[in-house]
């Protein structure tokens, strides 16, 4: 190493010089940034406090002369911050007023321009602003098919506020979106839309093969709309046990004679997942006539099926309780144990009943 000393030493010196420069630069940036952020924070906070007071007056239709001008005179960042701050806590007429104020302040136009940007994060900002203002901007419809999943998801959030058949159809199509974020958002948006989404969802469930079915059925369970009964009944015979289990859960909230008959058949399904779902749904519907079938499932080889059938029996009232008490003496120890757990009997009582 001795013969390479000069080179190594020179290298070290050069490196040290570079490091010193970077370290000093970073430390100075840190100091300047800290100083700047402190003064900026004080400035911004003052503007925000003033802006909040004016915005509150304008929203309450109690504006003084010059209030709107004062808001317009605020910097962009403050105007946007105010809109984003007020939006989540407003609804109805006050929300409409906020949208109008957003238009007057130029925030809507700014957001629409952002929505048309070729940079994904600018489009995302635009979409978030338009969503916050709940504005029916045509630019947002294009974003429903944006290549960026974050932007697409934001557009799907916006769509939850639009009762428009084209938008609803587009929403339902996103149940098969390759991105999980979009699928989650679309489920939430469809649930928020409520009944207007039922017809489109029923069409989707009737035509889809397997992708998106589980998510679609989860929405169907939340909507519990009678229009969904026919496609859901068909899906109860789907080859995938997960889809069948979801369909059974929907039948449990839809109810009716046909649903109950289907549930009874699925108590004998080869898949434990489906049997458990059918037992739970039967209990939720309070269909006491199925108590003997449920009692039979107390001896099932699958723990979740035993649990769900025992809980369903407990929900069924007198008939179910009777089946559970009988099961305490069942030759199958698993059935007796589950019945005991569900009945939550103290040891002396259990010993007396079980003999």
């Amino acid at each position: 190493m001795t013969d390479t000393l000069p080179t190594f030493a020179e290298l070290c010196r050069a490196l040290l010089a570079v490091e010193s420069f970077i370290a000093v630069a970073l430390a100075s940036t840190l100091a300047v940034s800290a100083l700047y952020s402190r003064s900026r924070k004080a400035r911004v906070e003052t503007r925000l406090v003033r802006g909040r007071a004016i915005m509150a007056r304008v929203l309450a239709e109690d504006a003084r002369a010059g209030d709107l001008e004062s808001l317009t005179a605020l910097p962009w960042s403050t105007r946007i911050a105010l809109v984003l701050e007020f939006a989540p806590s407003l609804a109805g007429r006050e929300r409409e007023r906020l949208t109008n104020i957003g238009g007057t302040l130029g925030v809507v136009a700014h957001a629409e321009a952002l929505c048309r940007s070729c940079v994904w994060w600018r489009r995302l900002r635009g979409a978030r602003l338009v969503t916050a203002l709940d504005d029916d901007s045509p630019a947002m419809r294009d974003l429903l098919r944006d290549p960026s999943s974050a932007v697409r998801a934001q557009a799907l959030v916006w769509a939850a506020g639009r009762i428009d058949q084209d938008v609803i159809d587009e929403l339902v199509r996103h149940l098969v979106d390759p991105e999980r974020l979009c699928r989650f958002t679309v489920q939430d948006s469809l649930l928020r839309l409520g009944n207007p989404a039922a017809a489109a969802l029923a069409r989707f469930l009737a035509s889809a093969e397997s992708a998106g079915l589980e998510d679609g059925l989860a929405v169907a369970r939340g909507l519990a709309h009678p229009e969904l009964l026919s496609p859901v009944l068909a899906l109860a015979s789907h080859p995938s046990d997960r889809v069948r289990a979801h369909a059974i859960a929907v039948l449990g909230v839809l109810g009716g004679e046909i649903a109950v008959r289907s549930l009874g058949e699925h108590l004998l399904d080869p898949s434990p997942l489906v049997r458990a779902a059918a037992a739970r749904a039967t209990g939720e519907l309070g269909y006491w006539q199925a108590s003997s079938d449920l009692a039979r499932l107390l001896g099932d080889s699958s723990w979740p099926v035993r649990r769900e059938s025992a809980l369903a029996l407990r929900r069924l009232g007198g008939a179910g309780q009777l089946s559970l008490r009988r099961a305490l003496k069942d030759a199958n120890p698993f059935a007796a144990d589950m019945a005991r757990q569900v009945l939550d009997l103290p040891d002396p009582v259990y010993n007396r009943i079980a003999g």
Binding site: C12, W121, S149, L191
Partner: protein, 493 residues
């Protein structure tokens, strides 16, 4: 005699010097890659969360449910406050499961009195074998609070009981003495909403020492006055904002802190829950999850969410800190040893070819190489093979790299979250960064070497950890354990 040995010593020292130099270069290249990756990740993260409205998640019917698992042992002094804070977290479908791990003190009594617990008999599928459960209680005043009283079996056993009892889609593992920010769960759940392949997500752990805590919330973040706590704050910044964030983009996150992590419950149960006979159970669980996913050829990821923040208390005495670092390093060695077949194994992709070698060479062996490096430097100078001024220059270069990385981490904190509002605090932290290489780093090297030695001797105890407590003095077992927190490791020396 010495003259005869001189050529051999010279050759040996040259080899050692060369080895240390190569190690130094490799390690710093790795840091550079992490630094770039962390920067890109932070920029993308900040762009993604601009104007984000989390109230939708709060009100959505499809948001996954979360069960918080909080093991408690001898925490009668702080348990009521901790559980109240957990119950106040902003998240829908939240269940809090407190597992009293056979505390001989009045932990259960305090909980019963404060939350009106009444015995219940839920139907539990014991999918993971655990020590017997003595009783189950549900709160009358807070129906989403479940308290499990069990025989003492350690933290891993307590968490496994919690996994059996939990009903949430996701389970959040917390220490009973960790302060979680009110909206941290919403933030931490974000990766599970956006990606189906996420197995687990971890948040940022910050040190509460010096900060103001009121009603179970950190109301003002301040830099600690205590030297050891101060240098640990800088270390944690480096480890989380630079190490874990960097690995996020590279797909190599291996650590979810035991103080605050979110997991898919079914996935954790499928791998058998937490392992009992290790002190690195947090890391071991992530290893098992990733290993299984690779073996099943499934796409998967472990996410780190920088803006989901939990606060914990750092040890303020050398004795306690030494025990903690010893245990972390033992845990790291243990986990790497258990999964040694993954090392450089192409079947395990990035995990086998990059992450584990990084953890072996950069984290585990760092103190060994550091000591060897110091010895080589001193001997080379003593034998006249290396000029003292060059050795000094090399030390300064190494110190400078550490300084640059540390300052960069502080700057990232300033630009990204800026939790420290007082100007003085930034300068105090910068001062801690400047002095940490003189004494503190050498101490951590000794503690970590002790950890390696203790592992080789087969020591597996946790050791008692003393903490001052946020509000009043308390004695709690330490389990924050952000393993390999010192991501900078040897490189700087």
């Amino acid at each position: 005699m010495i003259e005869q040995l001189r050529p051999f010593v010279a050759t040996a020292l040259r080899l050692l010097d060369g080895g240390v130099l190569v190690y130094f270069l490799i390690i710093n290249a790795a840091y550079l890659a992490l630094l770039i990756s962390a920067t890109v990740e932070m920029i993308v993260h900040k762009l993604r969360i601009w104007g984000e409205s989390r109230w939708r998640v709060l009100g959505s019917a499809v948001t996954p449910s979360i069960s918080m698992l909080a093991p408690a042992y001898n925490e009668e002094a702080t348990i009521a406050e901790s559980v109240t804070a957990l119950l106040a977290l902003h998240y829908p479908n939240l269940e809090v499961v407190v597992i009293n791990d056979g505390s001989p003190d009045g932990t259960l009594g305090v909980l019963t009195k404060r939350f009106g617990l009444q015995p219940i008999h839920p139907i539990v599928w014991k999918r993971i074998e655990t020590k017997p459960v003595r009783g189950l209680y549900r709160s009358r005043s807070h129906p989403n609070l479940l308290v499990v009283d069990k025989e003492n079996g350690g933290k891993a056993d307590a968490l496994n009981v919690g996994l059996n009892m939990a009903t949430g889609d996701l389970v959040c593992v917390v220490d009973a003495d960790t302060i979680i920010e009110a909206d941290a769960l919403q933030r931490l759940a974000r990766p599970f909403l956006s990606d189906h392949d996420v197995l687990a997500a971890g948040g940022t752990i910050r040190l509460v020492n010096g900060s103001t805590v009121e009603g179970g919330r950190v109301v003002e973040a301040r830099a600690p006055r205590n030297f050891l706590a101060g240098v640990q704050v800088v270390e944690y910044f480096r480890a989380f904002l630079f190490g874990r964030l960097g690995w996020n983009r590279l797909g190599g996150n291996l650590i979810i802190s035991g103080a605050f992590g979110l997991f898919r419950r079914d996935e954790v149960i499928d791998v058998g829950g937490y392992t009992h006979d290790t002190v690195g159970e947090d890391m071991e669980l992530v290893f098992k999850l990733r290993r299984k996913a690779y073996e099943q050829r499934r796409r998967h990821s472990i996410a780190f969410v920088p803006d989901a923040v939990a606060w914990t208390e750092a040890p303020e005495t050398a004795r306690v800190l030494g025990r903690q670092r010893d245990r972390w390093h033992r845990g790291l060695f243990d986990v790497l040893w258990r999964h040694r077949t993954l090392f450089m194994n192409p079947r395990y992709g990035v995990l086998g070819l990059f992450c584990i070698p990084y953890f072996v060479f950069v984290e585990l062996l760092a103190p060994v190489v550091e000591v060897l490096g110091w010895m080589a430097l001193v001997l080379s100078v003593s034998f006249g093979f290396l000029d003292a001024s060059v050795a000094g220059l090399f030390f300064l270069v190494a110190y400078g790299i550490g300084l640059v990385l540390g300052t960069y981490a502080l700057l990232m904190e300033e630009w990204s979250f800026g939790r420290y509002h007082h100007l003085r605090d930034r300068f105090v932290l910068l001062a801690f960064l400047l002095v940490e290489s003189f004494g503190y780093r050498q101490l951590t090297t000794v503690w970590r070497l002790r950890g390696i030695w203790n592992f080789l001797r087969g020591r597996t105890d946790w050791g008692k950890m003393e903490r001052r407590g946020f509000a009043k003095p308390s004695l709690v077992r330490d389990s924050a354990a952000p393993l390999a927190v010192d991501a900078r490791s040897l490189g700087a020396h």
